[in-house]
């Protein structure tokens, strides 16, 4: 009899506890649905609006005064090239800094201050990077409103992301790997080269791609350094018609978000449709990059277990 009472008590306690489980699950689901629906509706609306314009022509045409002829050729080429420069600058700098901080830097107050600053850099508004770049890259170094200036600016912007991703990926490597390598007489560099870098690569790549996905949508700093809003030519192809290998980096350019911004500020309804189509392409590009990050991480992690 006593035993039965006890069991009944326990059941009551469990029931009471579980009520909160259900309640919280319901609240969480509503929050999630709210966020997800908003995004879906936005992207869907944009896609539907722009659907008419999403043809091959749209990707192969320069902007035009006539909405029906206008395309995003110079914008997507510009975006891709700027991302290229960004990646080339941010990856070695960010990974190098991350590896240095994790593996080489002495743990003292200087390192602490550097660490705090890097974390804070990620929170600096992007327009501030634009101003900085205007002073340094555009005027001081004389790069002008070029692909190079834009790429370097965005590289600065995503540098903290790459550094933090690198450090976190390195920290996830068990100490036993490091000790195992060092115990065989490896130097620090050999340990980094044969173990730390390969094992942290999935995490680092994810960080890089997420950083680039953020950079590709940035508008404010690119406008600040003076990107064009209307451009009807492409940067010179390397080694074609007397162009040098790297002449394209000094070319004026525009990027997807600026092209969008330009079209939305036009009074004609037809340009709004163009903007919707361009926005849709931009979102697909970003999602595509994120998907690539997930896939790469999955592929690379399969070979790393401890």
């Amino acid at each position: 009899m006593v035993q039965q009472d006890k069991t009944a008590d326990i059941h009551a306690v469990i029931r009471r506890g579980k009520r909160w489980d259900y309640l919280f699950a319901a609240i969480g689901l509503i929050c999630l649905a709210f966020g997800l629906l908003t995004v879906l509706v936005l992207v869907g609306k944009m896609g539907l609006e722009g659907l008419d314009r999403l043809s091959l022509d749209f990707f192969t045409s320069y902007p035009s005064r006539r909405a029906a002829n206008a395309g995003i050729l110079s914008a997507w080429v510009g975006s891709v090239l700027v991302m290229l420069v960004t990646a080339f600058a941010a990856v070695p700098l960010g990974v190098g800094a991350g590896v240095y901080l994790e593996e080489y830097a002495k743990k003292n107050w200087v390192t602490d201050i550097i660490e705090i600053n890097i974390t804070n850099l990620a929170a600096v508004p992007s327009i501030v990077y634009g101003l900085l770049a205007l002073g340094i890259f555009v005027y001081q170094f004389g790069f002008g409103g070029s692909i190079l200036s834009a790429g370097l600016t965005l590289a600065l912007l995503i540098l903290p992301i790459v550094i933090v991703a690198t450090r976190e990926a390195i920290r996830a490597i068990p100490g036993a790997m490091r000790e195992g390598s060092m115990a065989l007489g490896a130097t620090k560099w050999q340990t980094v080269r044969y173990h730390i870098l390969p094992y942290s690569m999935p995490g680092i790549l994810t960080g890089i791609i997420i950083g680039l996905a953020r950079a590709i949508g940035e508008t404010a700093p690119i406008i600040t350094i003076g990107a064009l809003t209307f451009i009807a030519f492409l940067p010179p192809l390397p080694l074609v018609e007397g162009a040098g290998l790297f002449d394209w980096v000094m070319s004026p350019f525009t990027v997807m978000p600026i092209q969008m911004f330009n079209w939305t500020s036009r009074p004609e309804e037809a340009f709004q449709i163009n903007a919707g189509a361009a926005g849709f392409v931009l979102v697909v590009m970003t999602l595509g990059m994120n998907a690539l990050a997930i896939w790469l991480r999955y592929r690379l992690r399969k070979n790393i277990k401890w």
Partner: protein
């Protein structure tokens, strides 16, 4: 004990060895020889400093800030003080191998795991690498099990195989002294037996220092035994003597307590 009166040559010798984790002293004035091509076992209750002592020999403590050695570990035949600041810890680790408690193969192929120590030493010749990997795997009694799948990832091996792989990895570079920190504590009895057998063969060519919590194991495989307690070396002697007729009461209590 005067090592020169001993029938075996001395391979390494701790002299007044103190060790500090920051301000905490973990080893207190340890004097102890390791005899060449003998197995020396370190026993003692958890936290007494066995791993700390073992890791002094290959300067593993240098990897972390705040650690400090005092005293010497003299390595023979060249009389080098392993702990001297003038001696590069990398040189020390090139001469002294280590096998860890938990098998820690690299997430690479079986071949690459064993070849790693040679690669670190700059060996590129494929033939040399192949031969050395085969020989080391044979010495670690693993060759027959893995010879057809050297390209497989090492983490697909069983725990016991992984530990033998780690031993092969350490053997590939011909260490003069091998350190084992509870190498069988994560293994089942059969895998443990195979590793013990292996150590028995290995001592023909290499000096072995092993930490173990298993008294039977210490009695079975070691020639000399050291009993540590709270950072002190309480007693060191031939394994038979330590187990049958310990001089110190604390050793006796520990051994009888652990055996019964």
């Amino acid at each position: 004990m005067n090592p020169n009166q001993h029938p075996y040559p001395v391979k390494a010798e701790a002299r007044k060895l103190n060790f500090f984790y920051g301000l905490v002293q973990a080893l207190k004035a340890i004097d102890m020889p390791l005899y060449e091509r003998q197995v020396t076992a370190l026993i003692g209750p958890s936290g007494c400093g066995k791993s700390t002592f073992l890791r002094c020999f290959n300067r593993m403590h240098d990897l972390y800030p705040g650690n400090r050695y005092e005293g010497e570990i003299v390595f023979h035949p060249d009389n080098t003080n392993l702990l001297s600041t003038e001696v590069d810890p990398i040189e020390v680790r090139m001469r002294i191998g280590m096998v860890f408690q938990k098998p820690n193969p690299f997430p690479k192929s079986i071949f690459e795991n064993v070849a790693y120590g040679l690669r670190v030493r700059g060996e590129r010749n494929r033939r040399v690498l192949d031969d050395k990997v085969e020989q080391s795997l044979k010495d670690a009694a693993l060759w027959n099990e893995v010879k057809d799948r050297l390209k497989d990832m090492a983490f697909n091996l069983s725990g016991g195989q992984q530990q033998r792989l780690c031993i092969a990895r350490a053997l590939a570079t011909d260490p003069e002294l091998l350190l084992f920190d509870e190498p069988t504590s994560a293994l089942d009895p059969i895998a443990t037996a195979s590793i013990e057998e292996l150590m028995h063969d290995l001592k023909k060519r290499v000096t072995i220092l092993i930490v173990t919590h298993n008294m039977q194991q210490a009695a079975r495989i070691s020639d000399h035994t050291a009993y540590m307690y709270l950072g002190d070396l309480i007693e060191f002697g031939k394994t038979d003597e330590i187990f049958i007729k310990p001089r110190d009461k604390r050793t006796e209590d520990y051994i009888t307590g652990r055996l019964s």
